[in-house]
């Protein structure tokens, strides 16, 4: 710490300057998209020639955009419930279990992380084509749940390891059923991790494009509709939609940071 007293060396200041430039590079896309979403022009231009809310109005007036948004919200909601429930059960099994093959179960639980999304997307597309599940939002929700599950298992597993199993045994010794002991003793201590898992599962589904691209058919999710718009036409509605999406993600993450176990776990 005595080193800190000295004035920063020239080298250190040079390194900090480079870091500052990289931070600017990281923030640039967000800094550009905000003013563009408020542009008054019919085309993409930066800086915008004037200010207007017309692209936000265009978004709210278009039933297709609204339908896509509601569909994505429904899918993300289903994924949140499914992934959090299944992931918590799996984490409990891995952390508390003493059965042989636990290491393999742990591997399977995080395996979806190791498979590139494009590979999983066409794998599940192949399966759902034969099952006639392509084009149904249920199918997307199921595939998104697979996608989100490893994050829940990792977060809940880390949290479970900090809870002493003796507490559960003590509660059972005092007459509680196992289910009652878990519900009343263990789960309340896991609440922050549960909240973090739920929000992470929600965002991972709400922002997901590649799986949805293959599975959504004509009834698009919000990212799929944005992707098609970006590919086909260059008009600023997408910028307004992007801002709405960023705002929603920010709200969700702020809530997660407030009620969850914070950003520490998310990394």
């Amino acid at each position: 710490m005595a080193l800190r007293r000295k004035r920063p060396s020239l080298q250190r200041r040079a390194v900090y300057a480079v870091a500052g430039a990289v931070f600017a590079f990281l923030l640039l896309p967000l800094a550009v998209i905000l003013p563009v979403s408020f542009t008054s022009a019919d085309y993409l231009a930066f800086p915008p020639p004037g200010f207007s809310l017309r692209w936000y109005e265009a978004y709210f007036a278009d039933p297709l955009w609204i339908a896509a948004t509601l569909r994505s919200l429904a899918i993300a909601g289903a994924v949140t419930v499914l992934a959090t429930a299944l992931g918590t059960l799996l984490a409990y099994s891995i952390v508390r279990g003493r059965y042989p093959g636990r290491a393999v179960v742990s591997q399977i639980a995080t395996a979806p992380l190791a498979v590139p999304t494009i590979v999983y997307s066409i794998a599940v597309y192949g399966l759902f084509s034969t099952l006639k599940l392509v084009g149904h939002w249920h199918g997307i929700a199921l595939a998104h749940t697979v996608h989100a599950l490893p994050f829940v298992v990792l977060i809940m597993g880390a949290a479970l390891r900090t809870v002493d199993p003796a507490q559960e045994q003590a509660a059972m010794g005092l007459g509680a059923s196992r289910f009652g002991a878990i519900l009343r003793v263990t789960l309340p201590q896991l609440r922050p991790a549960l909240v973090s898992s739920a929000f992470l599962a929600f965002i991972s589904s709400f922002d997901e494009l590649v799986i949805a691209m293959f599975l959504s058919g004509a009834d698009m999710t919000l990212p799929k509709k944005m992707f098609d718009n970006i590919q086909m036409e260059i008009e600023p509605t997408v910028a307004a939609v992007a801002m709405i999406q960023i705002a929603l993600a920010a709200v969700v993450l702020t809530l997660a940071a407030r009620f969850g176990s914070g950003a520490k776990v998310l990394n």
Partner: protein, 275 residues
């Protein structure tokens, strides 16, 4: 009740999620991989390994991923150093700058780059106004745009492992080296930098592997002129319905990802707790 009785509760708790992953993850992935050797023929793999067009795509993907990993490393190192050594307030601001885009969807960020890099975009306007260029410089629908977009998405994955390693370096080491007469530059090259190599290594492997399977960024910023293995797989499935070939490409991509990750897992496990 005997405490020694075999406890089957956790096993039962895992049954339902395992069944879910078995049906919706393991089964479709294995089914896809089997498609690549449909009818006991290795023709699909032969096509991927011999057809010059497809070999070119595989090589281009590896090259692109290497370039992206190298640029990420060069940019992430100063950022990690800043985060590890700046005052608490500045480090918090730095993390904000890092995490804000990290939590914005890849699609939105990629879209923003089309505005920045387009013909009438921010960069081209700047170049024209400063008199550096006489006409619009093509930055979109080519490798430049794809590299910029991918670096932007993958940079945090490089910063986190390097930062984690830097945090654990004992400050007294540098002080000791300085006390023994080393110049600051020598302290950095001989003491500090070698100690951060495991983090740099872990980050590079992670970024390279994720880059191999990238899809959204090359699809939008490449404008059809930059074909990666991910885009090739999508094209084979959707346009040509050539499932065996798409499956063979998927098998190659998956094998590469697992092999690289498996080989370096010791380093990754030991040094990068961020993944």
């Amino acid at each position: 009740m005997s405490a020694r009785r075999r406890d089957l509760g956790p096993l039962a708790a895992g049954a339902l999620p395992l069944l879910f992953l078995g049906v919706l993850f393991l089964f479709p992935v294995l089914r896809l991989l089997l498609t690549s050797v449909e009818g006991g023929s290795l023709a699909a793999f032969e096509k991927a390994a011999t057809d010059a067009l497809y070999v070119g795509v595989l090589i281009d993907t590896v090259k692109l991923s290497l370039i992206v990993a190298a640029i990420c490393l060069a940019l992430a190192y100063p950022v990690a150093y800043f985060l590890a050594t700046a005052s608490r307030l500045w480090a918090a601001i730095g993390f904000g700058c890092l995490l804000l885009p990290f939590w914005t969807s890849i699609l939105v960020r990629t879209y923003a780059w089309t505005i920045v890099l387009g013909r009438n975009g921010l960069v081209n306007r700047l170049l024209l106004d400063l008199g550096i260029a006489t006409g619009p410089v093509p930055l979109l629908n080519n490798e430049i745009g794809v590299v910029v977009g991918m670096v932007h998405v993958l940079l945090p994955y490089m910063v986190f492992p390097i930062y984690a390693v830097m945090l654990r370096i004992d400050r007294d080491l540098a002080a000791a080296a300085e006390g023994l007469g080393a110049t600051p530059w020598r302290v950095f090259t001989r003491v500090y930098f070698p100690l951060t190599l495991p983090g740099a290594f872990a980050g590079s492997v992670l970024v390279f592997v994720i880059a191999l399977g990238f899809f959204i960024t090359p699809a939008i910023l490449g404008g059809g002129r930059v074909i990666t293995i991910g885009l090739l797989i999508e094209q084979q499935v959707r346009q040509f319905l050539d499932w065996p070939f798409a499956a063979a490409l998927s098998a190659l991509l998956l094998a590469a990802a697992l092999l690289i990750q498996g080989t370096f897992q010791r380093v990754l496990r030991g040094e990068a707790r961020w993944h």
